[in-house]
């Protein structure tokens, strides 16, 4: 697809803001075009196209931040109105003390091109693709029923022009493709539900690599077997192995979020919440020596991929926990000043009409050097939680809970029986201190991370290997 945005309108907005006496201005034109195909219970449902396209302006006036946005991005009169409004409202806030960290300026164009542009794949092929996945789900286990099935295929392209009063101009285009499904498996009147999500910054070629028919059939079979065979999980202080999807989610929820500096400072206090982490905990021990957690926006093809953030700062991997020590927080330019440091390019905005706030990209636990069998062989009696269903964590990100979906009893180093809904309810420091071994099997899952007000859902990967925790309390569901 041809790049469709014109940086002149961003330049106009910034120059106009500067003429109003602001200390800093940035404009972002963003075009998020999505196509969604829905297959509901085997039948094509409505297809949808959405184009979220517009311009936003952010100004800093004597320590007060004003933000305004309009979809009418090529209308200079409308741009004038939103610039004036942003300045007027910022001035009404007479007590602001915001500043932005000093950062290098860039003038960069970045275009990620998919190998196979989904725009060029026929509708027929897409519908066939979803129908085949649905068929594999139904036929996965002849003794089970899958009466409710939703499949979503999302193709997305994000074009951006970022322009600020310090000379930075970033022009970018990134494609994304994602698949979501929700299904219910029924066996002998008992039922359970499963949600699956995949996503990458690639084109149609990603779908082939995901091998969804086989994957979903496997998940349906696993759920069926679980309904048929699972026994009550043991309770008590046990050794536990958690699978990549769980360790990745835990890294996102209990490391990524509490290390967001806006939460630590209190900016998200009324919404997503604050953090159990204090600034003076930097460089202190939080986990065992084997734990390293990284957030890296630069992983090629990742769902959370970007090379420059939405404040024009160059992205890099962030080592949040390094060998058990809190190493680094996630910063945008606002929080960097408050913490006396530089931004590490964590500012993201989900659409043209959202302010850039501190976000994760691809958060994962670094792999260790064990094999899965080596993790297992050292456990006499424990539980392996391979996948999860329910989870949540408090708003300080201190007290978390994961309920296993596919989970196994471990006896004398072997997986012996399926167990039903084992619950892990544990504090973040206890969780990371309990990890004694990590295997080599790093896997990533796609997710949409929510934060901000109005809410901003941004694409991320969560990643992790299999992880062994010692003496963790397991509860029955």
């Amino acid at each position: 697809m041809k790049f469709s945005l014109d940086e002149d309108f961003a330049r106009y907005a910034v120059e106009l803001a500067l003429s109003k006496g602001v200390d800093y201005a940035e404009a972002r034109i963003q075009n998020d075009t999505e196509r969604v195909y829905i297959l509901k219970n085997g039948k094509p449902d409505a297809m949808g196209i959405s184009k979220e396209l517009g311009i936003s302006i952010r100004v800093l006036v004597k320590g007060s931040m004003g933000f305004a946005a309009t979809d009418d991005w090529q209308n200079k009169e409308k741009i004038r109105m939103i610039v004036e409004d942003a300045v007027r409202m910022a001035k009404a806030n007479r007590l602001g003390d915001e500043k932005l960290s000093e950062e290098s300026s860039f003038n960069v164009s970045l275009f990620v091109k998919p190998k196979i542009d989904p725009w060029n794949v026929s509708m027929e092929e897409k519908i066939k693709f979803l129908t085949e996945i649905d068929k594999s789900l139904i036929e996965a286990d002849p003794t089970a029923k899958v009466p409710n099935r939703m499949h979503y295929l999302l193709e997305k392209s994000t074009e951006k022009v970022f322009y600020n009063s310090e000379g930075t101009v970033i022009i970018s285009s990134i494609p994304r493709i994602a698949y979501f499904s929700f299904f219910v498996v029924v066996v002998n009147g008992k039922f359970d539900t499963r949600f699956i999500q995949k996503g990458e910054s690639r084109g149609w070629e990603a779908l082939k690599d995901w091998n969804l028919s086989t994957y979903l059939a496997g998940e349906a079979k696993a759920l069926s077997k679980l309904l048929r065979e699972a026994v009550e999980p043991p309770e008590g202080e046990l050794d536990v192995i958690i699978g990549p999807s769980v360790s990745g989610l835990a890294a996102h929820e209990s490391v990524g979020h509490p290390y967001e500096a806006d939460r630590i400072w209190g900016r998200e206090g009324a919404q997503a919440g604050e953090s159990f982490v204090n600034p003076d905990m930097l460089k202190t021990k939080i986990g065992s020596d084997v734990v390293t957690v990284i957030d890296d926006p630069t992983i090629p093809n990742s769902y959370g991929f970007y090379l420059y953030d939405d404040e024009g700062v160059k992205a890099k991997p962030r080592f949040l926990i390094k060998e058990g020590y809190i190493n680094e927080f996630l910063h945008n330019r606002e929080t960097a000043v408050r913490f006396g440091t530089k931004s590490n390019a964590a500012a993201r905005a989900s659409a043209y009409n959202r302010e850039p706030i501190v976000r994760m990209a691809n958060t994962y636990v670094a792999p260790g050097d064990y094999t899965f069998d080596e993790l297992l062989e050292d456990i006499r009696f424990g539980v392996y939680i391979k996948t999860f269903g329910e989870w949540n964590i408090d708003d300080r990100r201190f007290n978390m809970r994961f309920v296993g979906k596919e989970a196994w009893l471990i006896e004398n180093g072997r997986l012996t029986k399926l167990v039903r809904n084992p619950i892990l309810e544990i504090t973040t420091p206890a969780y990371y201190a309990s990890i004694d071994a990590i295997d080599k099997n790093l896997e990533f899952e796609a997710a949409t991370c929510g934060k901000g007000d109005p809410g901003q859902g941004v694409p991320v990967w969560t990643g992790g290997p299999n992880i062994r925790l010692r003496n963790i309390r397991v509860l029955k569901g």
Partner: protein, 453 residues
Amino acid sequence: MELSERKNEIIGLGEKLLAKLLDKGVDSVAILIDSHISRQVRFAVNQIVATKTWDETNIGVMIDKDKKVVVFEIGLASLSDIDEISNQLMMYIKNVPPREDYAPLPEPSMKYPELKDNWDENILKNPEMHVNLAFDVIDSGKKAGAKRMAGTLLSKAMFLCLITSNGSKLTQESTQVYLDVRAFMDKESTGHASIAGTKLSQIDASKVAEEAASTAKLSQKYQTIDPGRYDTFFTYDATAALLNLVGGATSAFAVETGQSFFIKKLHTNVAPEIVNLKDDPLFSGAYNSRAFDDEGSPTRANELIVSGELKTYLHNRFTAKKFGSELTGNAGWISPRAWNLVLEPGDQSINEMIENIRNGLVIHNVTYIRFQNYMAGDFSGIIRDGVFLVKNGEIAAAVRGLRLSDNTLRMLSNIIAIGKERRQIFHWWLEQNIPVLTAPIIVKDVNYTKAVK
């Protein structure tokens, strides 16, 4: 930035677009245009951290052809893409079979309900008032003893227009405003309060701030209690969060796709007799007031639960066809949804309700609700912003570290009291984004779990 000046322009735009799309040989078209000016003031750590303004016009289009349906949404500036987008959609239509649940757009009604008390000029005319209200909240909270105040004030003035090829030309203007406040004494001693309505004058900033601050102060002295089952008083905000789950589960789309705990529960008792819940976008000052749904059906108050019995699911034209039901006026183009839940009040004051609890809890807020099994209704959620142990009718101490871990159907059937005072609640983190006019409730034997290390 006068919204009123745009009305004729928007209607004209919709009509032009309708004619253009009909020329492409489609069977029917619906065009829904939402033009709005919104303002938000966000504050945290006792200061305003951002002011925001949105001036946007969103255009939604739904096209039917040969019993197939496609939708698209664009902004005003993307109208030049209409030909390309509609051509893509036509390609899709060519390649899919007709919908088995297809039903045509409903015929326009002879009469649509009138909306009451749903417009406030001040929202547009006095933008600085938003900033001043936020300062009021911060000052009032601090005066009431809070160390830090955080929150959001959001307002929206909206012109909505639905034009369909079968003759609907419907418009409405409405305003919305909510204030959502959290007070902190320290990281763990917090309080929360919120209020929603259609006019800035309904937002009693001081009262909401003082409520949040007083809860935060009360949260400082805490004790540890065992997990287990406790009779629980849920405040306005906490009840609104739980009723959002109920509202979401009444969507026939959720029922059809296995994402509802009300599957096969129609016309059965899902709650005790004291529970009466409706979806009503028409009461005076309803935050999400709507006179017509997205397909052009008139809206109405739908009784969802009457004396404990689940009476209906909420429908759009497709789910109504599939379920053999009449339209309920709740159409979204993909999924029907509740507009504004209303819980019928009971007869007890808050004090009377708490006095009746021997050994239980008071909970001010439930967030981060996640289901283990949607159809069964098994879920857990984070409780925060004021969790108190009640002993013999009196608040004994704050409690920390518990997690609500129960089942929606069990909790519904265990409601034993409903308060007589109601408040309209809306903030962005309600699970289904449904505003709720609610009283507090007491649910018996609610289950709580806890991390031990």
